[in-house]
Subunit: 338 residues, 2 copies
């Protein structure tokens, strides 16, 4: 029986019957296997994006699926294929698309935010959004490809190199994945995180991790770099504290990467940017090559993906998942299994 | 008779007899011809750097000179050579120097700030700071090489290309030179400046210039770029208004270049950096190749350097020069002639 989870505003998720939307030309209908809860979903649940979203909304975009039905004109997939979706539908006509930056199209539709998402049994999407999974990559791990692609994009745009000293401010799922991908690239990654559970988890993942409320982060980074400072700092905390410390940590010409979504404009030490010729780069979502890289990396089996999944619940537990994330305690990534 | 101008604190310049400091090994004594007044000199005159400078201080670093006397071990220059000084003395040992960024050495001595400068008849400096001027480049224009080298550095680090849409926020001497150098690189440069005299001057220099109090700058830039936004914005105003508008003006993946010295940390729209994958780059002083480029560019004779020089005064008029700059009216670059 097809099911779906509907956001109806006011921190309310209704679990109910789902639909199968017939695939049109160039579309594919997927049978969803797993779908993770993203921080953006939580943000929507909080009502922070009520002006943008149409309710009732089926959220969800960190997913894995099997191809269930093919629309006309779709030739590269067959029924049963294991796939993930890169949930971006660009307009193809705006200046960003014209400049080759369609992933940050001025009129971008984000599937699962601006159109229905994957917290439902059957999801119909444009075939161009699909990436095929290798046979030996599990559908559970497949649901981590989307956030992993974010990390691959961030590390790629930051041009992380072997031997780089990297600091990640904020050890949530994206921060952890950025640190893990940077380490795969040969960097020396340090995670700064104030939640003790997440500091412990980072250590279990083999990452260096500290709580900046307990350790003088700037002093530590200068010690680790013989006074030079870090090559790259990923700001994933979205906090004024993170925005302040990032400029203190960087070496001359070092790079601050803004991964977090800052709801308020923080104060930034532009004098320090001048003084040390620092650089800053905003990064958002991913491009197709990042999805391919994420799949390849997950399939390699060297990332501790299982340790990032706090638990797996049925779709009807979406509301309790949000509630547990709000408690801010011992959760990292929650997956829903359909 | 040797003369010098001494900053004695409390907005006071004393004009008096100068000294000739005998050049030591590897040093050269110069006979100063012209020396411009820099915004940093004004800042020192205001007392804002009293904690850093030793008084009485001979300021001045935008200069031209003839070689007057050679210390032992100096082989590449002869008495009478027309030269300019790149006024940076790096330590050679810090992490910035080790990384090849000696121009922003952690322990940098800036000649004319941390050690005596060129507002005096005879200036003794390390020979490695000298750049030779071509014979046909005037000593008057030579005094503009240092600020021109700043502009060459900024445009080089911004990687300005032919056809780029460039906006310069702030039309003081550095802003004007940045716009002129960007135009030489083939860019389409627009200057935004609130001082009407400077807006007019920019127009006389052949630059597009607007007063953002009279023109909606964001709307204008979007019109000029078919809705895409500017490729590069140079922030040379040091104001919150500039820091705010720079993120509104840029295209996806556009670059904000922080040239100005921000005494206070402004609020920066990091959401916009994320949303459009914007980049930011701090730039400070110059490297040797920028001095060479500035000399080559000035010698080419295509820049309207004469129009940037508001007037030329004797050294004893330094105090009145600062006072006129403080009035903020009809001044651009004031040169002192020794």
């Amino acid at each position: 029986m097809a099911q779906a989870a509907y956001y109806e505003g006011n921190r309310t998720i209704r679990h109910g019957p789902g639909e199968l939307v017939e695939p049109k030309y160039g579309e594919v209908t997927l049978k969803i296997s797993h779908c993770g809860i993203c921080g953006t979903d939580l943000h929507i649940y909080h009502g922070a994006m009520d002006a943008r979203v149409e309710m009732p909304l089926v959220m969800g975009h960190e997913m894995s699926a099997n191809v269930h039905q093919l629309g006309a004109g779709v030739e590269n997939f067959v029924i049963g294929d294991k796939v993930v979706v890169m949930p971006l539908a660009p307009c193809g006509e705006c200046p960003a698309c014209a400049a080759g930056h369609s992933h940050i199209c001025h009129n971008l539709d984000f599937l699962g935010i601006d159109t229905p998402g994957a917290f439902q049994s059957y999801w119909t999407v444009p075939a161009y959004t699909l990436h095929r999974m290798p046979a030996h990559l599990s559908l559970k791990h497949g649901a981590l490809i989307e956030p992993l692609a974010v990390a691959c994009h961030d590390v790629r745009l930051a041009d992380v190199k072997a031997g780089d000293q990297v600091v990640v401010l904020g050890g949530g799922p994206i921060g952890m994945l950025v640190a893990l991908v940077a380490r795969q690239a040969g960097a020396d990654a340090l995670v700064s995180e104030i939640n003790p559970y997440r500091v412990d988890l980072a250590s279990r993942l083999g990452l260096d991790a500290v709580n900046p409320h307990e350790t003088d982060l700037t002093k530590l980074v200068l010690q680790r770099t013989q006074g030079a400072g870090a090559d790259i700092v990923f700001e994933v905390s979205g906090s004024q504290a993170g925005a302040t410390v990032m400029t203190e940590l960087l070496r001359t010409r070092g790079l601050a990467v803004v991964v977090a979504i800052f709801a308020q404009a923080p104060k930034i030490d532009l004098f320090r940017f001048f003084w040390r010729e620092l650089r800053l780069q905003g990064v958002r979502v991913y491009e197709s090559e990042d999805f391919s890289a994420a799949i390849e990396l997950a399939a390699r089996g060297t990332l501790p993906l299982d340790d990032l999944v706090t638990d797996i619940r049925p779709l009807k537990a979406l509301q309790s998942g949000f509630e547990d994330m709000d408690k801010g305690g011992q959760v990292m990534k929650i997956l829903l299994e359909l």
